[in-house]
């Protein structure tokens, strides 16, 4: 399916290009012939051919656009899906600029057929056929034509190659500007203290694009001068031949129209460049991120000299057991989120982690021997609730049912709506009672407090026994803090809850408090 459509579209594109060119040539020949020959030949046939060519050109043009667009959408969907599937278990792409890049680069890669191949194939085939025609019918013109052919191809190749260099440079400039802008705007709070404050300057990027445009213009002017030169040669030749055959009209006409049927491809080369660059980057995203899930039921988690890999934070020695509430106190920036991610197995750690009194490293080695290499072990029985839980673009129901363990999902045992609404009430999200409501991007935006409570609702609905809550109280008013405290206290009757927070509200019955800050 995927391989047939681009070929048909390509053929249609070729038909489109050739019928356009032939239309021009046949009609000019027709006029010349009519003038030279008078009524002495069958003029109906060429007239019919011209009309047929015109219709063919329009039909193939539309067909090509339709088909290649269809193919573009299909291959884009395919590409994105395989990218997404490949990122299973990855937590790396989360920044807006990264996802945006994958978004447009996948588009660049998918649009190579419609954007570049089809157009260029048409132009190159036209060149080839004209060459064949000259060698077959107009041998006397072969020298000027071959000059044109060689030079035009040289310009064409020069433009592609030098454009590629520019495009690679552009990519570098872009990447460095992106990080520059990000750092600059993250530091906006201290701009007023900066001596000689410089805002980002993207002129290098603009300049790069402009240089490329100027290059294209030179290539086009070169092509035009070249065709003019060859036309002049032809006209001189024509005088020696005597211009009584209408067929000699064809070549000058083709050269005059060179900008249309050949020069236009000059504007398409950036698509090829984007494809090459995008393809490289997308392939590098296909790195082998394979991590295993530890599906065991967890009775206890014991940390020994534990800290996230490469972090400067304290090493921890703690045991977490069921029906406990632990509070990890620390100010923002003390590495609480990274610590939680390390416990849940989302990032690497230093030290050791004991699951049900057995070191995960033993387990990990065992697995390494028996199956493929793996980086991290994601603990299936641990739930990490982010500081700002992500709200999926989807219905509220989807956002809650996500919490159902995937093993149960395939059956008809999706959590029923009454249960969902009950949980929403428990966390104080009564105002969201329409489970069909679209939330997240493209729908109702949840406030910071609502988002936090949605995360809590998911935690209640999940069957996971270890729940890591990252800053659950931040940004909530007192009334909602009380509600959340109640929920957490009741969660601890059956599970283990670990809270990272710099706020410790009253009424929180924690068993253990760990201070992460060194001060």
């Amino acid at each position: 399916m995927l391989t047939k459509k681009p070929i048909i579209a390509l053929i249609l594109a070729l038909v489109h290009a050739l019928s356009g060119l032939t239309l021009l040539l046949v009609s000019s020949w027709f006029i010349a012939a009519s003038a030279v020959a008078g009524v002495s030949f069958n003029y109906m046939l060429p007239a019919v051919i011209i009309r047929a060519l015109a219709l063919m050109r329009i039909a193939s043009g539309y067909g090509e656009m339709w088909l290649s667009h269809h193919q573009l959408l299909e291959s884009l969907a395919h590409l994105r899906l395989s990218l997404f599937n490949n990122m299973q278990g990855s937590t790396s792409v989360s920044r807006a600029s990264d996802t945006d890049k994958l978004n447009y680069q996948s588009q660049d890669v998918a649009s190579i057929w419609t954007g570049w191949i089809n157009q260029n194939a048409g132009a190159l085939l036209s060149l080839l056929l004209l060459t064949g025609f000259v060698l077959w019918q107009l041998v006397a013109f072969s020298v000027p034509w071959l000059i044109f052919l060689t030079m035009a191809l040289l310009i064409y190749i020069w433009l592609i190659m030098s454009g590629l260099v520019l495009a690679q440079k552009k990519q570098q400039i872009r990447t460095s500007l992106e990080s520059q802008i990000e750092h600059h705007f993250d530091a906006a709070n201290i701009w007023h203290m900066q001596k000689n404050l410089q805002h980002p300057d993207a002129s290098a990027l603009y300049k790069n694009v402009q240089t490329n445009q100027v290059k294209i213009e030179w290539a086009i002017s070169g092509l035009l001068i070249l065709s003019l030169f060859c036309i002049t040669l032809l006209v001189i030749k024509m005088n020696t031949l005597g211009n009584n055959t209408p067929i000699v009209m064809i070549l000058p006409m083709a050269l005059l129209g060179a900008l249309d049927w050949f020069g236009r491809t000059f504007f398409s080369h950036h698509r090829l460049h984007d494809y090459i660059i995008g393809n490289k980057i997308i392939n590098s995203n296909y790195s082998t991120i394979s991590n295993s899930r530890v599906k065991d039921k967890i009775e206890s988690i014991e940390l020994k000299q534990f800290k996230p890999k490469g972090s400067a934070s304290k090493e921890l020695d703690i045991t977490f057991a069921e029906q406990q509430l632990h509070l990890i106190a620390g100010s923002s920036g003390s590495g609480k989120s990274r610590l939680f991610k390390a416990i849940a197995g989302l990032i690497d750690f230093d030290g050791d982690l004991f699951l049900n009194s057995r070191s995960i490293k033993d387990k990990y080695n065992e697995r390494k021997a028996e199956s493929s290499f793996s980086d991290k072990c994601i603990l299936d029985d641990v739930l990490y609730v982010e500081q700002t839980p992500y709200v999926l673009s989807g219905t509220l129901r989807q956002n809650l049912q996500l919490a159902q363990h995937s093993a149960h999902r395939n059956a008809n045992s999706l959590i029923d709506d009454n249960k969902l609404i009950e949980v929403l009430k428990t966390v104080g999200l009564d105002q969201l009672s329409n489970l069909e409501q679209w939330v997240g991007s493209g729908g109702r935006q949840l406030s910071g407090g609502e988002t936090k409570r949605l995360g809590l609702a998911r935690a209640i609905l999940s069957t996971k026994r270890y729940i890591l809550l990252d800053e659950p109280f931040e940004g909530l008013d007192q009334q909602n803090i009380d509600k959340v405290v109640n929920v957490i206290n009741s969660l601890t009757t059956s599970r283990c809850v670990i809270i990272a927070s710099h706020i410790y509200p009253e009424g929180l019955n924690f068993d253990n408090k760990i201070d992460l800050d060194s001060y």
Binding site: I31, G38, V39, Y43, I50, R51, A54, L55, G61, W66, H70, L73, E74, L76, R80, Q88, G89, T91, S94, A96, S97, D100, R174, I181, E182, H183, F185, D186, A188, N189, I190, W191, H192, M193, Q194, K195, P200, A202, Q210, V214, S221, I225, L228, T232, R293, A312, S332, G333, G335, A344, Y390, L392, S393, R409, G442, H502, D515, D517, S518, Y519
Partner: protein
Amino acid sequence: MHDLIVGHAGVNNESSLAFVLSSLVWIVLRHVSENQLSKLNAVIELDLQQQINVNLDAQQHALARRYSSFFWQQVYLKHIPSIAQYVSQYTSQKYISVLFPIFVISIIFPINWFVALILLITLPIVPIFMILVGHGAANLHRKHFISLERLGGLFVDRLKALTLLTTFDQHEVESKRLAKASDLVNRQTMRVVSLAFLSSTVLDFFATISMALVAVYIGFSLLGELSIGPDITFHNGLYLLLVTPLLFAELKTLGRLYHQKSEAEAAVEAMLPVIKSNPKFSLINASDSKRWGAKPMTFNDTRWHSFAISVPSIKAESLDLNGQDSVLLTGRSGAGKSVLLDALMGLRQATHQLPGTVVLISQKPTILPSSVRENLSMGQDIPDSQLWLMLEQVQLSKKIKSLPLGIDTLMGENPILSGGEAQRLNLARALLQPSDVILLDEPTAHLTEQQHDTLALLIHQLTQNKTRIWASHKPLPSSWFNRRWLIENGEIFQGDTLC
């Protein structure tokens, strides 16, 4: 400039020299005009960038923090170029594609009025059909707009949700959903696109029809089968045949540039709030002469009557501030404490702003990825002894000394300082700046209670000799302050009685 394209058509004039010359003139003019357009493009881009940077200078973090850094990336890398392209290419092409056909017909008319007539009749049909088709496609798109928007954005959305999907082991479920969504989006898009593509096909169709009409007419006239209109010679015929396609050439170019319009519209919509020119309210401490080493300025018994901020509206009947005052600013979160501080700095439109050099310490410590030294000196030349003295004062010197490269250690992307330490570094940076007034915007908001206590005390000790306005949510000893401001329902109340 573009009109010279007609020189192109002078192919069979008696002298081939004239042809060569006029062609050369056309080539040169075309080249120059295209280069001018790309120069214009660059000028517009730099001008837009300049406008944004001027606004950023005037409003600083009050403007910058309203948007994510991703938004700003898009502004510089995407929106500015697409607006510039639209202005330089599309708008000029719009005029050309209207004027050019008129020009071409006026050239054809004296040569053969009948051909001109044919073209005059067929020409208006083109835009009419294009508009009809365009409206149809737009309606269809509008009908599916919400689902196209939602489902079309699903790929990016689920990429952002990777951590969530991993923790819940929902990757496969979402993958299926993604496949289904893109299938649906593609089907709907194809429906819209099938219609939208008709637009250029219609143009092609009518262009071909009129070409065919002209060609057949010329052909048969030359054969002597037809005798409507003026006589036609071979040269005339060829000339007309070459000129006719030019009638539609510029319209076709416009069609190719059409996508620029929607891109620019999206860009303008996104950028309008940050590019709207603001009435000049200059930042007093922007001038470098007031920087390091300048004498502190004193102000006494300042009383502002009917102080007001325009957006969001915050008012005060009067506000008093004397040199060396210590003001406690309170109010619920979201009441506008940060807005007031911004306005006092002159970063928001307000009736008054603080005189002299103002320094702000904000909630979230800002650490640049560069070295500790650069983080402290902010581009000024401050002697090491002074830096260390300050680090000693904020109790960071031990920590900094323990870093591998000491004061020259790069902070990098994952800071090596804890939240409390980072805020101490921020404090040191602010205190190294010569300032007349120091503004504190909940500097301990993200710290634990214990840390809040120690850091607040440190801040108090180090700033008690300065004029300071301290916004705080958390309790602070009342003996530290001689004035209180309370923001409530858009109004600032002052005095001791409130606390």
